[in-house]
Subunit: 176 residues, 2 copies
């Protein structure tokens, strides 16, 4: 028994010292009952726990956005290997309608939650849409976007603009 | 040996199924050589791996901001227990000067990295500054901000405005 405990303590210590718990904490489990998108893509689990890639404000849409990445995407960002992004990378864009902070009116802040959008990289599986699977869920109720499985032609119509950047508009934010 | 492996496999499986690895991936280790702030506060390790709380755009400062929280802060956000925030909570505000996305000029995006600011909650230790320790590191070189240990009176001068919200301007963004 002692030797088992000793080994488990070693494993736990290894996990802690390698930083695997650096971002532990309560896990988002809100995606459990969300319906899949019309093209069959399921909402990625725990996406609100992912790490930061960038942020933006769309002046034409009056919305604030934050882009998070799954572990494969974050590894690509930190290694500066995002053109092309690796298979398995997922980008999550969270979008809010803008609001003003009542205590500091010069600050534009997230108001009502509008949607969560995803790009899932798989060069083979999604070869017909530039190597990315697209999906979007609307509002706090996370209603799947699109009438049928071809809705992502609408996504691609804009993203084709940045085909030279692997169809991704987001440039990872500069960080120390 | 078999029983040890079996137990370690059980531990690993438990960690995975409880979601402790949901946000694993490459860990930020860029804070190792950063000098402490003049009030003695050290830059929190791995802060770039923390989870999202909110975002903002300061129109008066022409900057985009993202606020991340350590695990204690995120737990407080998800339980809606942020007034007051619990001891041990740390808020990290990352600030960039605004830029325009060349491929989509309607989008304001992070340009040059300006600073990382922190609020560290400890009602006893920081009782003289409203229960929060303040620190800021400037630019990509993460130079400590402030001439002497009293620099945080400058922080408090503005944050006193929101003393009824435990001195925190940030309202956690609405999320599904």
């Amino acid at each position: 028994m002692n030797i088992i405990l000793k080994n488990m303590r070693w494993l736990a210590l290894s996990l802690i010292t390698t930083g695997s718990f650096a971002n532990a904490g309560p896990v988002d489990d809100s995606s459990i009952d969300v319906q899949p998108a019309p093209n069959g893509i399921e909402i990625p689990a725990h996406y609100k726990d992912w790490k930061l890639i960038s942020s933006s404000m769309r002046n034409d849409k009056h919305s604030l956005r934050v882009v998070l990445g799954n572990p494969i995407a974050i590894e690509a960002v930190r290694k500066h290997q995002t053109n092309p992004w690796p298979n398995g990378a997922i980008l999550a864009k969270l979008v809010w309608h803008v609001s003003q902070l009542s205590s500091w009116p010069q600050a534009t802040v997230p108001g009502e939650f509008e949607q969560a959008e995803f790009m899932i990289k798989n060069a083979q599986k999604y070869s017909r849409t530039g190597g990315w699977g697209y999906a979007r869920w609307m509002g706090m109720e996370q209603k799947p976007y699109g009438h049928d499985k071809n809705f992502s032609s609408e996504c691609l119509a804009c993203h084709a603009e940045v085909s030279e950047h692997d169809y991704v508009f987001t440039v990872p934010a500069q960080l120390p």
